[in-house]
Symmetry: C2
Subunit: 148 residues, 2 copies
DNA sequence: ACTATTTAGTTCGACATCGCACTAATGGAG
DNA sequence: CTCCATTAGTGCGATGTCGAACTAAATAGT
């Protein structure tokens, strides 16, 4: 393989890794102590998509192992942000529901993060982000599919 | 803030996070047991840039805390991939040097990863990656600068 | 020269992540 | 109906990551 090509792909994944790391740190600095990006992401997902999903469905949505989702949901439950109920369709399974406190947590978080997004937007054009996101989504899908 | 705009930026960082996660897992599956992406990245960096750098310089290059780099270098030393020597210019500091085993580790890793890159390249045009990388680098730099 | 401040690196403790093994429930094959 | 394989979720142990506090060396200010 061409060395230049290899370096290019390594650079790509390297930049992606560092951006993920920096953005995560930046976001968590705005969250109440003890709460992490996954906590926020799950609550946000439950609002954007729909609550009442199973833990496994959430694990798949975020591409994390089941055990990780168990841990994350444990934290959300401890904070009273979600409620876990039995799944009427499947005795092995459960369903995850938002509480009012969960919705408030999400709204507070968004309110405190918005200014950072504004700053970022003022330094990097929204339009370019809009062009890149579909590409990233396609790449994500490819990597996911390759993971058989 | 416009809800659509917010969703766009969240999507961007979300895709980035999942790609980072999936690519990391994929790479580590090719590495000898016990070795991780940071191990490979540091060795690769020492070859691409130059060895003899200080641990702090490496921590800065990868945007990780000093303590994390100490841990990573400990693993590399335990595997005999790098050698830590005093820094002749500064008694507080050290320098990190590659060993032959370290170079071999890097070459073996690249050899086993190349096929995956080929597959990826066949599904997603290299040219698009080449366009996106500079954008990601710019975004990375912005996030880094915002981190005063 | 002397002291205070800053800096490089480590140690330690807290915690997120994840693989492995386990339990309980489901579903399919005969 | 009975058994066996599969699936959802959890407990546990190992490990990566990182903040806080520490040591030792360098540097700045007087």
């Amino acid at each position: 393989m061409d060395n230049d090509t290899r370096t290019l792909f390594f650079s790509f994944f390297n930049e992606v890794g560092i951006i993920a790391q920096l953005s995560r740190t930046a976001l968590e600095a705005r969250l109440p102590k003890g709460l992490t990006l996954p906590h926020f992401s799950v609550v946000n997902h439950l609002i954007r998509v729909k609550d009442g999903q199973t833990p496994l469905a959430l694990a798949n949505a975020f591409q994390v192992p089941k055990t990780t989702m168990t841990h994350t949901l444990g934290g959300l439950t401890a904070n009273g942000f979600v409620e876990i109920r039995p799944n009427p369709d499947d005795g092995r399974s459960k369903t995850v529901w938002l509480t009012d406190a969960g919705r408030r947590f999400r709204e507070d978080a968004i309110r405190s993060i918005d200014p950072d997004i504004e700053v970022f937007k003022s330094q990097y054009p929204e339009e370019k982000i809009r062009e890149i996101v579909p590409e990233l989504a396609a790449i994500r899908a490819l990597l996911d599919a390759a993971r058989d």
